[in-house]
Amino acid sequence: MGFGSLKRYLVILPPMLWLGLFFLIPFFVVLQVSLADPALTRPPFTAIFTWDGWWPTGFLGDLENYKFLLSDSLYINSYWNSIKIAAIGAFVCLIIGYPIAYVIARAHANMRNTLLLLVILPFWTSSLLRVYALIGMYSPNGFINSTLSWLGIIDTPLQLMQTDFAVYSGIVITYLPLMILPLYAALEKLDGDLMEAASDLGATPLATFWRVTLPLSLSGIVAGYLLVFIPSVGEFVIPALLGGPDQLMIGKTLWTEFFNNRDWPVASSVAMIMLAFLVIPMMFLRNTQGSREA
């Protein structure tokens, strides 16, 4: 090992230590709990190894908790619901974010930074605060309902809270910048000559969009979609504050298991499966980015 590679190891050592300490070790702790059984002890689960001094002599863990998750439709429904809401929410972000990113990318060069700043600015406030702002808008005596009834358009307040609509608006208001930024990066690189060439070759603006702009911004679409989808799956705050009681998302189920049922092993296995769901799209994201750079 030369001095150069030694230096390289020194540089990556701190982040590796950080990841080991705060990601890898907790990961194994949770994995271990997910294999244990609940117990009325403190902490509330059984040990999965028998020890002889420093050496483990027996393994007591099992997959009972995972089997339990499969047996109860509550969990399957929560997973399915989480993925559905995250997928639709990310799609709504894409539909809203794409035109915004397009306009910014095509704007005059000295306007672009200002417009980007306007996109990022809300990101600097707490996401919790932004979700509470939505409650202020949507609640029965919130801004929208009171304005509509003041105008005489409605008699009884509209049910805006505890709806899918509220949850999707929560995802949009929380994650939209994560969609816009990669889209902007992809669209900004797009050569304007290509669009002109397409229209010169007989493509209407719509055809130009489908055949040139969209395929060439695909990397940005995939990146933005996953950046919104991944945190949305495990989202707890948005469904808890904006969603209805029937809207089981996995983050909420996890919370209930941990803090209401105090069943740590089941909660841990819920977390492990959620992690598996998230790792797969993340690997996909890494692959697309790798091939884009190649």
Partner: protein, 370 residues
């Protein structure tokens, strides 16, 4: 000259009438009128910012005209969007779609026009053969050399059989050797398919060697439209005389009018005679333009006569086939001379600083009033 064609000649294939383009308060193209016949290889020549590219983009429909109109085969296309115009453009950057291979790039316009698959494939193959890229159909643009990309761009622009092909500095990204070869190919392809070509270039040699006619643009206006030879022999003004080839300009005042006009020039310190029928006034300031290859050089300066001037040899640049010589006249003005026959310094026994005499025929010069 365009006016004459409007009255007598056949109906022009492409007519540009009084077209202008203003960007904010900048006039990019200012009241340009131009008629182009079918099958021409027309070159728009001008420096950067002369408005030549904007004019081309207006023909393509990529810029909308501020005023004036454009007709193709008698049909007004001024407000027709680019995707509905019977013209195609080859971009300076080539603008090949990076996510499509060569075949798909060429077929882009055909697919847009809903060609049947079999005919489309045949047309793509025909074009690949035309630009000699038969085996490269499956390559992506980033797997091609600059010259190959240029040919794909040409094939793509020709695919829909446009009535007019527009070329925006199509050769500027190629190196010198490849550029000359490509110029020849371009002319051969144009002759083969007979499509009207309009090419924008800033390279006067390129325009001279390719074009059937050249239109010179300067400061948003079209100054002169001529075939290359006539443009060279009879430039309309000093700017064009200097832009198309090299030229010696002698300023003077009209001293005698007639079939042979006589000018008293301070630049040569002598009378200059030129055969020209321009109407002049006594004392009017004019310029005599003489091409470097039309200037004669004598080693023994004797006598003072019209179209002769004495000076000193100040530079000799031997280039093999031709030799560039610079003479500084006694008045101080420099004169460039090009000698194309075999030049032997020893034989001529000329060295820098020698006294020499330059002269030119009165039919070899051109009188310019602006």
């Amino acid at each position: 000259m365009a006016d004459k064609a409007e009255e007598s000649g056949p109906k022009p294939f492409l007519r540009i009438h009084n077209i202008s383009k203003h960007f904010a308060d900048v006039r990019a193209v200012d009241e340009v009128s131009l008629d182009i016949q079918q099958g021409e290889f027309f070159c728009l020549l001008g420096g950067s910012g002369s408005g030549k590219s904007t004019l081309l983009r207006m023909i393509a429909g990529l810029e909308t005209a501020t005023s004036g109109h454009i007709e193709i085969e008698g049909q007004d296309v001024t407000n027709v969007p680019p995707w509905n115009r019977p013209v195609n453009m080859m971009f300076q950057s080539y603008a090949l779609f990076p996510h499509m291979n060569v075949e798909k790039n060429i077929a882009f316009g055909l697919k847009q026009d809903n060609w049947p698959k079999a005919e489309m494939d045949a047309r793509v193959q025909e074009l690949l053969d035309l630009v000699q890229l038969g085996e490269y159909g499956k390559r992506k643009p980033n797997q091609l050399s600059g010259g190959q990309r240029q040919r794909v761009a040409l094939a793509r622009a020709l695919a829909r059989k446009p009535k007019v092909l527009l070329l925006d500095e199509p050769l500027s990204a190629l190196d010198k050797k490849l550029r000359e070869e490509t110029q020849r190919q371009l002319v051969a392809i144009q002759k083969e398919i007979g499509t009207t070509f309009i090419m924008v270039t800033h390279d006067q040699e390129e325009a001279m060697s390719i074009a059937t006619r050249i239109g010179v643009m300067d400061e948003a206006r079209l100054i002169q439209v001529e075939a290359p030879r006539e443009m060279y022999e009879r430039p309309a003004n000093k700017m064009i005389a200097g832009f198309i080839g090299q030229v010696n300009l002698f300023e003077g005042k009209v001293s005698r009018k007639g079939k042979t006009q006589t000018i008293t020039s301070m630049d040569t310190g002598s009378l200059l005679e030129v055969v020209d029928n321009t109407k002049l006034e006594d004392g009017q300031v004019v310029w005599i333009a003489v091409r470097p290859e039309r200037v004669l050089l004598k080693t023994n300066p004797k006598g003072r006569a019209a179209n002769k001037a004495n000076g000193k040899l100040t530079d000799i640049m031997y280039l093999g086939g031709i030799t560039h010589i610079q003479v500084t006249l006694d008045s101080g003005s420099p004169v460039r001379i090009t000698i194309s026959e075999h030049w032997d310094e020893d034989e001529a026994k000329l060295k820098l600083g020698d006294a020499v005499q330059i002269s030119f025929e009165k039919r070899a010069a051109r009188l310019l009033v602006e």
